[in-house]
């Protein structure tokens, strides 16, 4: 049972680990944080993260381009930057498309 109706959080993931595997709540939460920390570290080091059956977190380097402040219409340069995208695996795409 999730605590916040629509949105799944770290706490919900930890609760499921606690319930299914019997680790303490604190241990379960630490494991969730640890998974996220390792993924963050890899991405920060410029390495993509690929989880088979789930999807890939892929880094892309964007060149500088001209943007515009939508409120004032003033042109401002958008500095080159690295962005992270998520590409869901075909399995996950199929599950989402047909709601199972």
């Amino acid at each position: 049972m999730s605590r916040s109706a629509g949105t799944l959080t770290r706490a919900d993931l930890a609760e499921t680990i606690n319930r299914k595997l019997g680790f303490s709540r604190a241990e379960s939460l630490a494991l969730v944080e640890s998974i996220l920390a390792h993924m963050c570290d890899s991405l920060k080091d410029g390495e993509n993260v690929k989880i088979s059956g789930f999807g890939s977190f892929v880094l892309r380097d964007k060149k500088e381009r001209v943007g515009r402040n939508p409120k004032t219409g003033v042109e401002v340069p958008i500095t080159p930057r690295r962005v992270m995208t998520f590409r869901a695996s075909q399995t996950l795409r199929d599950r989402i498309a047909d709601g199972s």
Binding site: L8, I17, L43, K50, I51, F54, R82, M84, I96, G99
Partner: protein, 93 residues
């Protein structure tokens, strides 16, 4: 980093866990997220990012090879927005 490397790192951090337990933890982590997405729900992992789904309307596409028109039905697709801390971490200075 691939799944097996993540398992290795978690095992190193948690020497008290059996390999099978590490695997179950990682399976539950990604399966819970996948399940919620399949239900059309949202997952918010502060600092990392948020997963959700978007509806795509039906459209008429074309087979790029033959130019033939094909009906693409309406569907739900995954969407991910990186968190602010993640975005900043990728762009130091």
């Amino acid at each position: 980093m691939i799944r097996s490397e993540l398992l290795q790192k978690l095992a190193q951090d948690n020497p008290e866990l059996r390999a099978q337990e590490v695997e179950q933890v990682v399976d539950i982590f990604f399966e819970e997220i996948a399940q919620r997405l399949a239900e059309g729900g949202r997952i918010e992992l502060r600092g990392f990012g948020a997963f959700s789904t978007r509806e795509r309307e039906a459209r008429t596409g074309r087979n790029p090879r033959t130019g033939e028109a094909v009906d693409v039905p309406a569907k739900r697709v995954p969407y991910f927005k990186p968190g602010k801390e993640m975005r900043n971490a990728l762009n130091p200075d």
